[in-house]
C-alpha cells in the first residue's frame, strides 16, 4: 500500500440477508474509498443500510457481492479470525450502544484491545487514555456504574488507545442528550486530530456530519454525495 492508496476501498458492495419473510437486500452496490486521515460522514434514513455498511467495511460481516479492501488487504481472502487480526491495533469501532464489556472495569475495557494486540504496556496506556477523556477518577468503575456519556467516552478511549489508522463510528452520539453528545463529538474530533486517524461515521446528527471532510448519503442501499 502506498501513501496515497485508500485505507478503505469498497467496490460495488452488496449485502443480502435472509429473513423469515424472504431475502432482504440491504446494500446494492455501495462504493467508497477513504484516504488516510480523511473523515467521512454517512447520513441517511433509518433502515437504509448505514450500519450494515460499517459492519461490512470493518470486516465484521462478509458482503454478498463486491469487494472490500481494508489497509490494502482484500477481506474476501481472509476468514473471520484473519479479519480480526487485520483489525487488531489498526481499525477501531465506536457504537451507538457503547458495547463496553460489562464484567470489566473502565480501565480494563480500554486495555482490552491493547492486550489482545499483545501490548505489554496495556494498563498504563489505558490509564493514560482514560485521563485524556476525563475519566481518570472512574477507572475502577464498571460500565453499569457510569453514565451514558461516560460510557461513550470510555468507548472512545478504548477505540483510540490503539492509535488506529481508521475509526468506524456508528451513531456515536445517538444515545446521548444534546449537551453530552456535543461534548463527546468535540472530544472525538480532538483525539482524531491528535492521532491522525481516518474516520468513517454514520450519523443522523447533521451538525456532527458537518464536521466531516466529506458527507455521503445512503439511499436504497447505495452511496451518493449528500
Amino acid at each position: 500500500m502506498t501513501k496515497t492508496s485508500p485505507l478503505l476501498d469498497l467496490d460495488e458492495v452488496a449485502l443480502t440477508l435472509p429473513s423469515t419473510a424472504g431475502p432482504v437486500e440491504i446494500l446494492r452496490g455501495a462504493s467508497l474509498a477513504v484516504a488516510p486521515g480523511e473523515r467521512v460522514a454517512i447520513v441517511g434514513p433509518s433502515g437504509s443500510g448505514k450500519s450494515s455498511l460499517i459492519s461490512v467495511a470493518a470486516g465484521l460481516e462478509r458482503p454478498t457481492a463486491g469487494r472490500v479492501r481494508l489497509f490494502g488487504q482484500d477481506l474476501s481472502a481472509l476468514d473471520e479470525d484473519g479479519r480480526a487480526r487485520l483489525r487488531r491495533g489498526r481499525a477501531a469501532l465506536v457504537f451507538q450502544a457503547f458495547h463496553l464489556l460489562p464484567n470489566m472495569t473502565a480501565e480494563e475495557n480500554v486495555a482490552a484491545p491493547l492486550e489482545i494486540a499483545g501490548r505489554p504496556d496495556a494498563a498504563e496506556a489505558a490509564r493514560d487514555w482514560l485521563g485524556r477523556v476525563g475519566l481518570g477518577h472512574r477507572r475502577g468503575h464498571y460500565p453499569h456504574q457510569l453514565s451514558g456519556g461516560e460510557q461513550q467516552r470510555t468507548a472512545l478511549a478504548r477505540a483510540l488507545a490503539v492509535r488506529p489508522g481508521l475509526l468506524f463510528a456508528d451513531e456515536p452520539t445517538g444515545n446521548l442528550d444534546e449537551r453530552t453528545a456535543a461534548e463527546v463529538a468535540r472530544l472525538m474530533f480532538e483525539l482524531l486530530a491528535e492521532t491522525g486517524a481516518a474516520l468513517v461515521m454514520v450519523t443522523h446528527d447533521s451538525s456532527l456530519a458537518a464536521r466531516a471532510d466529506r458527507r455521503l448519503l445512503m439511499q436504497g442501499g447505495r452511496l451518493q454525495a449528500a
Binding site: 440477508l17 450500519s51 450494515s52 460499517i54 459492519s55 470493518a58 465484521l60 460481516e61 473471520e80 479470525d81 480480526a84 487480526r85 483489525r87 487488531r88 491495533g89 477501531a92 469501532l93 457504537f95 450502544a97 458495547h99 463496553l100 464489556l101 460489562p102 464484567n103 470489566m104 480494563e108 482490552a112 484491545p113 492486550e115 489482545i116 494486540a117 478504548r158 456508528d170
Partner: protein, 837 residues
C-alpha cells in the same frame, strides 16, 4: 490456553454464579447421588472387610451337608490351629402349650466363637446360659418367645429333648455369613443337640468347623490346600476373604443401581446445563462480538467462556462431592442402631473420583456444543441481535460427542455386569433422545394449534412454540424422571403382585421336610382327609437332598466360569429330588424324560437357566457332590422350572436309582386353605413331631413387607431424577424471565389482568407437564414390560396408579412450579420495565 484467556475469564467470573444456579444444582445433584451411592457402599465394604474374621467366625470355615466329618478330616483341621465345631439344623420348637414354630437350631461347642463374641441378655454369657445346672440350656431369639408366648426360664421342646430358655440371643459375630433363615434362631450345646435325634445321617443338617490360623498364616493357601487334600469330600472351604460374599455382591449391585439413577439425574440435568450455558452465552453475545470487533480471535473468546464454565463445573462437582461424601455419615447417624451390616463410615476417595469424572464428562457433553457457538458468533451480531452463531461441527461438538461416549463408557466399565449396564445406558440414551425429539415436536405442534385458539390459551401455546420453549428443554428432562419412576413403579407392582397374589395362589401353603421314608405312607393317609384327598395337584411327597455342581463335561467347574445369571447354582448347595416318570409339570424344553423304572447310569434333569449359563445340553455330563460323595450324571433333559410354585420346582432332578440305597428324607408339598393348613399343623404336632413345617404364606407376607420398604427407598432415589427435571424447568423459566417480564408489561398496557397472564403461564407449563408425563409414562412402560416378562418371567401387570397418580401429579407440579417461577415477572410494574427498553 493463553494468559489473556485466563485473565479475561477471571474478569468474567466476577459475575459469580448468577444465571448458573440451575447449572450448579444439576451438576451437584447428579454428582451427589453418584458419590453418595459409592461412598455408602464403600463404607459397608470396608465395614465387612474389617470384620471379615468375625463374620466367618475364624480364618477358615469348612462346611458339610448331610454327613459328619471323618476322623481323618478332623485331624487335618486340628493340625491347622484351634477350631470350633457347630451343627445347624431346622427343627420344630414346641412350647408346653403345644404351639409350634420352625426354628434354626445351632449346636455349638465350648470354644465357640473363635472370633468376636455372642451377645445375650438374661444371662452373663452364652457359655453361662448353656452350661447352667439343670435341664440343658438354650439361648433363643426374642421372635420365638413372642411367637410361642414364652419367657426366660420356660421350657421348649426341640426334637425329643426339653431345653430351658436361659438367655435371649441378641447377636452372633458370624450371623451375616449364615444366609437365608427359615425361622428364629436357637443356640444350644452341640453335645445336647446330638441327643435330640435331629442330627441323623442323610438329614438336612449342616456341620461347620471354623479354624483360627496362626498369626501371619495365608488363609487362602491354607483353604486351597485343604480342599485339594480331600478332593472327594464334598465339603466347602471358605476363607475370611470370602466372608459374606453374597452380601458384598448385593451391595455392589445396589450401588450400581443407585449410581445409575445419579447418572440419569445428570442426563436429565444435562438440558439444564445446556440451557444455562446457552442462555448465558446469548446474554453475553454483545461482549463476544465486541471482543471480536476489538481483534480477538474465535478460540480466545471460546477459551474465556470455557474457563468460566470449567470453574463453575468444578464448583458444582465440589458441592456434589461434599453432599455425597456427607451422606453416609448422615445415614450412619440416623440408622446406626438399626444397621445389621457393619459399616466403617469415612471419606473414600475412589467413589468421589468416579462421581467427579461422571460430573465432568456430563458437563462437557452438554456445555461444549453451545460454547462452540461462542467461537462462531460473528461480530456483526452487534448490529443484529437475532444473529446466532451457527451450531457447526467444530472441535467443540466433536469433544462434546466424545465426552458423551466417555460418560457411557465409564458407566458400562464400572458396572458389575457390563452387558446389562450397556443395555441400561443405551435404553436411557435412546429414551432421552426420543423425549428430546418429542419435545421439539410438541413445540412445533403448539405453533400450529395456536391459530385455532384465543386468549390465554393462545398466549400459552405461543410461548410453548417460541424460541425459548420449555417443551424443548424442561419436558425431556422431566419426562426422563417420570420414565424412571414409571419403570420403578411397574417393576414394584409386578413383584408385589407376584408375592402377594400370584405366589399364594400358585405356591404350596405348607412345605414339610425331615419326613422319613418310613413315615411317608402313614403321613399320606393321615393328611388325605384333611385336604380333601391326595391328588397330584394338591399333595406331593418326594425324596429330598441337596447337592452342588462341581464339574461339567468331565472337568471341574468354578462359579467364575459361569454366566452371572446362573452362578447361584454353582457356588452353593442346591435342592434336588428323585422322580421316576415325568410329572405333569415336567415342562421339558430339550431332551426327554427317562423311561419309567429306568435303572441305568445316573441321568439328570436340569433347569434351563442353569443349563444356559453353563452352556449345557442334553447328553453333557454333570458331576454332583451329593451326600458327601461325587456322582456323575448325564443330562437327559432341560426343564423350564417355575420356582416357588407347587410341583416339581427343583433345579435338579435325578432318576431314583442314581441314589439307590441312600436313606433320603422326604419333602411334602401341600396346597391347602388356611383352615386346612391349620388342621394339618395340628396333626403333625400330634403324630409326626419330627417333621419340620415351613409356612409359605407367612414367609410371603414377610417378603411383601420387605419389598414395600425396599420399593420406598428405590422410589425415593428415582425421584432424584424428577427433581433434576424440575430444576431444568426452573432454569427454563429463569432463562425467559426478562422476556416474560416485558411480555407481561405489554399485556398489562394492553389491558390484560394478571390473572390472564397467569392463566397463559399455567397453560404453557401444564402442557409441558402433560408432554413430559405422557411420554415418560409411555417410555417407562415400554422399558418395564420386557424386564417383567422376560427378565423376571412374571405376568405383566399394569399399575394404574402410574396413570391416576403419577401423570396428574406431574402435570400439576410442573404447572404450579412454572407459574410460581413466573410470578416475579407477572408482579412487576409495567412502567419501569418499558422504560428499560
Amino acid at each position: 490456553m493463553t494468559s489473556l484467556s485466563l485473565r479475561y475469564a477471571r474478569r468474567e467470573l466476577r459475575a459469580g454464579a448468577k444465571g448458573f444456579r440451575v447449572f450448579l444444582a444439576c451438576i451437584a445433584l447428579g454428582v451427589a447421588a453418584i458419590a453418595a451411592a459409592g461412598s455408602t457402599a464403600e463404607a459397608f465394604r470396608h465395614g465387612l472387610a474389617s470384620r471379615s474374621r468375625e463374620i466367618l467366625g475364624g480364618d477358615l470355615s469348612v462346611t458339610l451337608r448331610g454327613r459328619r466329618f471323618t476322623d481323618q478330616e478332623r485331624a487335618a483341621f486340628a493340625s491347622l490351629g484351634p477350631s470350633t465345631d457347630t451343627v445347624r439344623v431346622n427343627a420344630m420348637a414346641q412350647a408346653p402349650g403345644g404351639a409350634r414354630r420352625l426354628v434354626e437350631v445351632r449346636g455349638v461347642d465350648a470354644r465357640f466363637p473363635l472370633a468376636g463374641a455372642v451377645t445375650v441378655s438374661g444371662a452373663p454369657s452364652l457359655a453361662a446360659a448353656l452350661a447352667a445346672p439343670g435341664p440343658p440350656g438354650a439361648a433363643v431369639e426374642q421372635a420365638l418367645l413372642d411367637r410361642l408366648g414364652l419367657k426366660l426360664g420356660d421350657t421348649v421342646m426341640l426334637g425329643e429333648v426339653p431345653f430351658a430358655i436361659r438367655a435371649v440371643l441378641l447377636d452372633e459375630p458370624d450371623r451375616l455369613a449364615g444366609g437365608f433363615e427359615m425361622g428364629p434362631r436357637v443356640m444350644a450345646s452341640r453335645e445336647v443337640l446330638e441327643r435330640t435325634g435331629l442330627i441323623s445321617p442323610g438329614g438336612l443338617f449342616v456341620e461347620t468347623i471354623r479354624i483360627a490360623l496362626p498369626a501371619g498364616a495365608d488363609a487362602v493357601a491354607a483353604g486351597e490346600a485343604l480342599q485339594k487334600g480331600f478332593p472327594d469330600s464334598g465339603f466347602r472351604v471358605r476363607d475370611r476373604n470370602d466372608a459374606a460374599a453374597g452380601l458384598r455382591e448385593l451391595i455392589g449391585r445396589l450401588e450400581y443401581f443407585l449410581a445409575f439413577i445419579g447418572l440419569a439425574a445428570l442426563l436429565a440435568g444435562g438440558l439444564g446445563v445446556n440451557g444455562a450455558v446457552s442462555s448465558y452465552l446469548e446474554a453475553r453475545k454483545p461482549s463476544i462480538a465486541v471482543l471480536k470487533a476489538l481483534g480477538a480471535e474465535g478460540p480466545l473468546v471460546r477459551n474465556v467462556f470455557l474457563i468460566r464454565i470449567a470453574a463453575l463445573t468444578a464448583a458444582g462437582i465440589s458441592l456434589g462431592l461434599a453432599g455425597g461424601a456427607a451422606t453416609p455419615f448422615l445415614l450412619g447417624a440416623l440408622f446406626r442402631d438399626r444397621l445389621e451390616v457393619p459399616a466403617l463410615f469415612g471419606v473414600y476417595p475412589w467413589p468421589l473420583i468416579k462421581a467427579a469424572v461422571f460430573g465432568a464428562l456430563a458437563a462437557a457433553a452438554f456445555s461444549l456444543a453451545p460454547l462452540g457457538r461462542a467461537r462462531a458468533t460473528p461480530p456483526s451480531s452487534l448490529f443484529r441481535r437475532d444473529l446466532t452463531g451457527p451450531l457447526t461441527l467444530g472441535p467443540e461438538s466433536l469433544l462434546a460427542g466424545l465426552a458423551a461416549l466417555g460418560l457411557a463408557g465409564v458407566a458400562v466399565a464400572t458396572a458389575p455386569t457390563p452387558l446389562v449396564a450397556a443395555g441400561m445406558v443405551a435404553a436411557t440414551a435412546a429414551a432421552w433422545g426420543l423425549l428430546w425429539l418429542l419435545g421439539r415436536g410438541a413445540a412445533a405442534l403448539a405453533g400450529r394449534l395456536r391459530g385455532a385458539t384465543r386468549g390465554a390459551l393462545r398466549l400459552g401455546l405461543a410461548n410453548l412454540a417460541g424460541p425459548a420453549s420449555a417443551a424443548r428443554t424442561a419436558a425431556p428432562s422431566i419426562g426422563l424422571g417420570v420414565a424412571l419412576l414409571t419403570v420403578v413403579l411397574l417393576l414394584q407392582a409386578a413383584l408385589l403382585a407376584k408375592v402377594k397374589e400370584a405366589a399364594p395362589d400358585a405356591a404350596p401353603a405348607l412345605v414339610l421336610t425331615n419326613v422319613t421314608p418310613a413315615d411317608g405312607p402313614a403321613l399320606d393317609a393321615a393328611i388325605a382327609p384333611l385336604i380333601g384327598g391326595i391328588t397330584p395337584d394338591r399333595y406331593r411327597r418326594m425324596p429330598f437332598a441337596s447337592g452342588r455342581i462341581v464339574g461339567v463335561r468331565g472337568g471341574p467347574i468354578e462359579p467364575e466360569q459361569v454366566a452371572p445369571e446362573g452362578r447361584w447354582a454353582f457356588d452353593r448347595d442346591i435342592n434336588l429330588t428323585l422322580i421316576d416318570s415325568a410329572p405333569p409339570d415336567a415342562n421339558l424344553v430339550a431332551g426327554r424324560w427317562w423311561p419309567a423304572g429306568y435303572d441305568g447310569p445316573p441321568m439328570l434333569m436340569i433347569d434351563d437357566d442353569i443349563a444356559a449359563a453353563a452352556k449345557l445340553r442334553p447328553g453333557d455330563a454333570v458331576t454332583l457332590s451329593v451326600l458327601g460323595r461325587e456322582l456323575e450324571a448325564r443330562i437327559a433333559g432341560v426343564r423350564k422350572v417355575e420356582f416357588g410354585r407347587f410341583g416339581a420346582s427343583f433345579a435338579l432332578i435325578l432318576n431314583p436309582s442314581a441314589l439307590a440305597g441312600a436313606e433320603l428324607t422326604q419333602v411334602v408339598l401341600i396346597k391347602a386353605s388356611a383352615v386346612q393348613a391349620g388342621a394339618v399343623q395340628r396333626l403333625l404336632a400330634r403324630r409326626f413331631p419330627a417333621a419340620n413345617v415351613f409356612d409359605v404364606r407367612e414367609q410371603l407376607e414377610k417378603a411383601g413387607e420387605l419389598l414395600d420398604q425396599l420399593a420406598l427407598a428405590v422410589r425415593g432415589a428415582a425421584a432424584v431424577v424428577a427433581v433434576s427435571g424440575l430444576l431444568v424447568l426452573g432454569g427454563a423459566v429463569a432463562a425467559t424471565a426478562e422476556r416474560r417480564t416485558r411480555e407481561a408489561a405489554i399485556l398489562k398496557v394492553l389491558g390484560a389482568a394478571r390473572s390472564q397472564a397467569l392463566a397463559a403461564t399455567v397453560v404453557e407449563y401444564g402442557s409441558v407437564g402433560l408432554i413430559a408425563a405422557a411420554t415418560g409414562v409411555l417410555l417407562g412402560t415400554a422399558a418395564a414390560w420386557p424386564v417383567v416378562r422376560f427378565a423376571f418371567d412374571f405376568e405383566w401387570r399394569f399399575d394404574w396408579s402410574v396413570l391416576t397418580v403419577l401423570l396428574p401429579a406431574t402435570v400439576t407440579l410442573t404447572a404450579v412450579a412454572g407459574a410460581l417461577a413466573s410470578i416475579p415477572a407477572l408482579l412487576s410494574r409495567p412502567a419501569p420495565v418499558l422504560r428499560r427498553e
